[in-house]
Symmetry: D2
Subunit: 117 residues, 4 copies
Amino acid sequence: MEDKLSVISKKVIQFRDARDWEQFHDPKNLAEAISIESAELLEKFLWTTTDKAYDMDNQKLEDIKEEIADIMIFLIYLCDGLNIDLAQAVESKIEINEKKYPVEKVKGSSKKYKEFS
Amino acid sequence: MEDKLSVISKKVIQFRDARDWEQFHDPKNLAEAISIESAELLEKFLWTTTDKAYDMDNQKLEDIKEEIADIMIFLIYLCDGLNIDLAQAVESKIEINEKKYPVEKVKGSSKKYKEFS
Amino acid sequence: MEDKLSVISKKVIQFRDARDWEQFHDPKNLAEAISIESAELLEKFLWTTTDKAYDMDNQKLEDIKEEIADIMIFLIYLCDGLNIDLAQAVESKIEINEKKYPVEKVKGSSKKYKEFS
Amino acid sequence: MEDKLSVISKKVIQFRDARDWEQFHDPKNLAEAISIESAELLEKFLWTTTDKAYDMDNQKLEDIKEEIADIMIFLIYLCDGLNIDLAQAVESKIEINEKKYPVEKVKGSSKKYKEFS
């Protein structure tokens, strides 16, 4: 079985290289692209209330999937450009967060959640 | 061998559940969190020029890794909340993009890149 | 009586010029700065529900004012750099929106609000 | 002569009230809208280099003006909803910044600019 993260990373990089698009992908522009795609995701929830945020038809869910994929695709390009191992970066960050937000201090408290995060 | 994407997804979800934080993670707030973390990533490249965007010391690279991890962590929470398969979403999006940007039409042209993307 | 928009524009430009900071203010970097400050504003409302979004103490209100001011300051720099008359741009946009969203078609309908905006 | 900031504020608020749209304008959603419009502004500079960021034809300049106006319009709505005096907020922030970034310490240094801002 091949690793899923490696599989999709290869596919998005092949997509880019077949088009000679790496030349546009300096990290500053990629960070902009990630911000822009994130705003497009956020737009799917604009003018809703938080308690209705889960309400969506199939079309909206498909749109959200596409925006999430766009963010992920640009994250993969950025990791490729800077030689970052995405899975390893997440593992390290979770370790940092385990120390920063110890269970016994923050569990179930929204006040603490807001302060700490 | 266990799949890396599954491994990190399990870890970030365990982190959340140990703290009872799922209650704050409606999709509207998660989409906001992704936008905010993306802006923090972008901030690492603010006031630089694009041609110096690759210049960075180890500390800056570590900061960038952490911001990338934060975005990925919130993407995983959002996919979990909406039952989205992140790898599958990327594969579908790449298929859509293959049709939208055929190699023979877009290869190596920055003008076309801007128009099409 | 001097116009308030002119007064604050002059002040922020004097602030910049006294520090020789115009050199960093190309429009791409300014657009990034506006996005980053907007995310800092958004962060003040993260993990709240929409119905509690008005709840805030004096400190939070002060923080929000500062973020709003930061966005406005970078808008003024961008308008200065591109010779855009901010007040005139708003007047033109309102005229465009008057045609795009005629009162009789969109009044009081949230569905239409979401579709049209 | 009437103050320009007051004139445009009145116009955008009349536009909103004629459509009964204030009901959608809680501060959390307005902060999201400002972030989204800022990303649309940023998108106008995506895939350019910083040294070509000033290159634009009339159409692009018009698009940028519209995005700037959209941000300003939502800033006015947010200030209206929270009883914030936008011009006064900018004046206060400039005073804060004067102390934070004294001319003699920061003038003309890009390194210091990045550190301090």
